[in-house]
């Protein structure tokens, strides 16, 4: 299998998010970026597939703060190649990202062959203009399905079987022909741990490949007029005091609402 995984960095919400001076975007002074979790699961799924069926895993990401460590970590986990698209991509949205990633294939002289599987996270927390995966599939002309939690290969038929999550615990099984673009919701197992020493040692010996792609026209047809932090409206009424007092108050409430008989 020829698996290509695209990774995206997103703002780390552990930090308090602050609106910048323009009022239309985030303040970047203390902003940290982290790997989009579903993309992490895509990488894990890719590695699991490689372990099962053989092949190579290529990991591609756009230049962004802290992305180097993410790429080296992917290599340490078992990816075969790590590639970075250099440039300043601040503000680029999903449609532009998809164009960029699609040009990766032509710039790197890669074909989308009958063995190629492209994996991305099914969604990201900053996808204002939608998810990258379906845009990418449209540009590449490859079939797409999202919210996937499991993939298996039918090598004979050159097709893959995937499991998609709906709601209420219901799932669906689909069959896709390759090449295909899959949006990953979760991998079969949680992302593996790779020890820090291994990543550091890889950082010393390995190099990230770069591929130059001229920036596509990044015009956004969506204009952000204002970005703001929602009011903490509708907050719960807090019940306070020692446990005894709290449990009494809770019972009172339950009686008031008819859940307990008086």
């Amino acid at each position: 299998m020829d698996i290509v995984v695209f990774l995206k960095m997103v703002p780390d919400v552990v930090e308090e998010l602050v609106i910048g001076d323009t009022g239309k975007s985030l303040d970047t002074q203390f902003l940290r970026m982290k790997l989009n979790d579903p993309d992490d699961y895509s990488l894990e799924e890719a590695l699991i597939l490689k372990e099962k069926y053989g092949g190579t895993v290529t990991v591609v990401a756009m230049e962004a703060p802290e992305v180097d460590e993410v790429l080296f970590t992917a290599l340490a986990k078992g990816a075969d190649r790590i590639v970075k698209i250099p440039g300043d991509w601040t503000g680029i949205q999903a449609p532009g990202i998809a164009k960029l990633l699609a040009s990766y294939f032509s710039s790197a002289n890669r074909q989308l062959g009958p063995e190629t599987l492209v994996l991305l996270g099914s969604q990201a927390i900053d996808d204002l203009e939608g998810e990258v995966a379906p845009y990418l599939s449209e540009i590449l002309g490859a079939p797409y399905i999202g919210v996937i939690t499991g993939i298996s290969l039918d090598a004979g038929k050159k097709k893959i079987n995937v499991i998609k999550e709906f709601a209420g615990g219901l799932r669906g099984e689909f069959e896709l022909s390759l090449p295909a673009v899959i949006g990953i919701q979760a991998a079969e197992k949680p992302p593996r741990y790779v020890p820090v020493a291994k990543v550091r040692s890889i950082m010393k010996t390995a190099k990230i490949e770069t591929v130059d792609i001229t920036a596509p026209e990044i015009t956004s047809a969506v204009s952000v007029d204002k970005m703001f932090i929602p009011e903490a409206g509708g907050k719960a009424k807090m019940i306070e005091g020692p446990p005894e007092q709290i449990s009494s108050r809770v019972i009172e409430l339950l009686k008031e609402c008819g859940i307990l008989r008086r």
């Binding site: 703002p11 919400v13 998010l17 609106i19 449609p95 927390i125 204002l128 203009e129 939608g130 998810e131 379906p134 845009y135 599939s137 449209e138 540009i139 079939p143 797409y144 399905i145 999202g146 919210v147 499991i163 998609k164 999550e165 709906f166 709601a167 209420g168 615990g169 219901l170 799932r171 669906g172 099984e173 689909f174 069959e175 896709l176 022909s177 295909a180 949680p190 047809a221 969506v222 952000v224 007029d225 204002k226 970005m227 703001f228 929602p230 409206g233 907050k235 719960a236 807090m238 019940i239 306070e240 446990p243 709290i246 449990s247 009494s248 019972i251 409430l253 339950l254 609402c257 859940i259």
Partner: protein
């Protein structure tokens, strides 16, 4: 002069999804303000009978075809693009759900219209649309406008009241035929969740456990509380992922949507995916040690304390 508005009606296994009514509600409001028609479109094997519930719209396009029961993003965006070209819709509303995911972006490229995600509110000022979308799981909101004043909008479930979209009227129907077969993405079968002993959607009282329950052994305490209150135990995703409770107990976007009289959340953080599944419950009580936990924005009453301090004495009191 604005174009009409189109709603992509959504259903799962023959049942209309709540999001459809939400979209019909806001669609109707906007259409009335702009004095333009409101259309719906529905795909699937029971599309015709589903269409009869979409009376809030002025007309419904129906594609009766079992193949499109789960709409293929490719075929769906093909059909919608044709309709957009024919009718010059100003807005196409699509549900931000697992079922409809992927249609919006593909349609955006094919139709040339921009796509807006995570939309929580739409309004009209003069004839210009304004949208509010959430980002970062709801921590940030953005007010948005579209330079062309036309777009494809993904509605975040729970943003609008669903009652406004319900009606007994039977709308006029226009039948469509399948323009092209989906060959590359083929639906094989549903995988039902394991038959759980308990149907949490039918309970009046639910005691929900999240990460804060710490380990599987402590769930027994939640069971005790649930029994004392005459209900059952459910859980958020992290607990289900650990395997401490079966999938049938999961509440949230990928789990069940529940509306019990009492939803008692123990150690649940209240991430948006979970809140989606329980926010319409009658009385929401939450215990969490983190005063900033998002659950406190959804709950009616909150207790910022260690659940292991509060629940045992509560259980004792309930038993007497």
């Amino acid at each position: 002069m604005s174009g009409p508005i189109l709603i992509l009606a959504e259903h799962l296994k023959g049942e209309i999804a709540d999001i459809t009514y939400e979209m019909l509600g806001i669609g109707r409001k906007l259409a009335d303000e702009l004095k333009v028609p409101l259309h719906s479109i529905v795909f699937g094997k029971d599309a015709e009978s589903i269409a009869t519930h979409l009376g809030v719209s002025d007309s419904v396009f129906v594609l009766n075809n079992p193949q499109m029961d789960i709409p293929s993003p490719d075929v769906a965006s093909n059909i919608l693009k044709n309709l957009i070209e024919q009718k010059a819709y100003s807005l196409v509303l699509i549900g931000g759900t697992n079922v409809s995911t992927g249609i919006g972006p593909k349609l955006s490229i094919r139709s040339g219209l921009p796509f807006v995600n995570f939309c929580r509110n739409i309004w009209v000022k003069d004839v210009t649309f304004g949208f509010t979308s959430q980002l970062f799981g709801g921590k940030i909101l953005s007010d948005i406008s579209l330079p062309g004043n036309r777009g494809i909008i993904s509605i975040y479930p729970g943003s609008f009241p669903s009652n406004a979209g319900k009606s007994d009227k039977k709308p006029p129907i226009e039948m469509l035929s399948l323009p092209v077969e989906e060959t590359k993405v083929v639906f094989k079968q549903y995988i039902e969740p394991e038959a759980g002993d308990v149907d949490i959607t039918k309970q009046d009282v639910l005691v929900s456990v999240g990460r804060g329950i710490s380990n599987a052994d402590n769930i027994a305490m939640a069971e005790e509380l649930a029994t004392a209150l005459g209900g059952a135990v459910c859980a958020s995703r992290p607990v289900i992922d650990q395997g401490w409770l079966p999938l049938s107990r999961q509440v949230g976007k990928s789990g069940m949507t529940v509306k019990p009289k009492l939803y008692f959340a123990l150690g649940v953080s209240g991430a948006p995916e979970h809140a989606e599944g329980m926010k319409d419950s009658g009385l929401i009580l939450a215990i969490n040690t983190d005063p900033n936990a998002p659950i406190f924005s959804v709950a009616h009453y909150g207790i910022c304390a260690d659940l292991f301090d509060i629940i045992p004495p509560l259980i004792e009191k309930l038993k007497t």
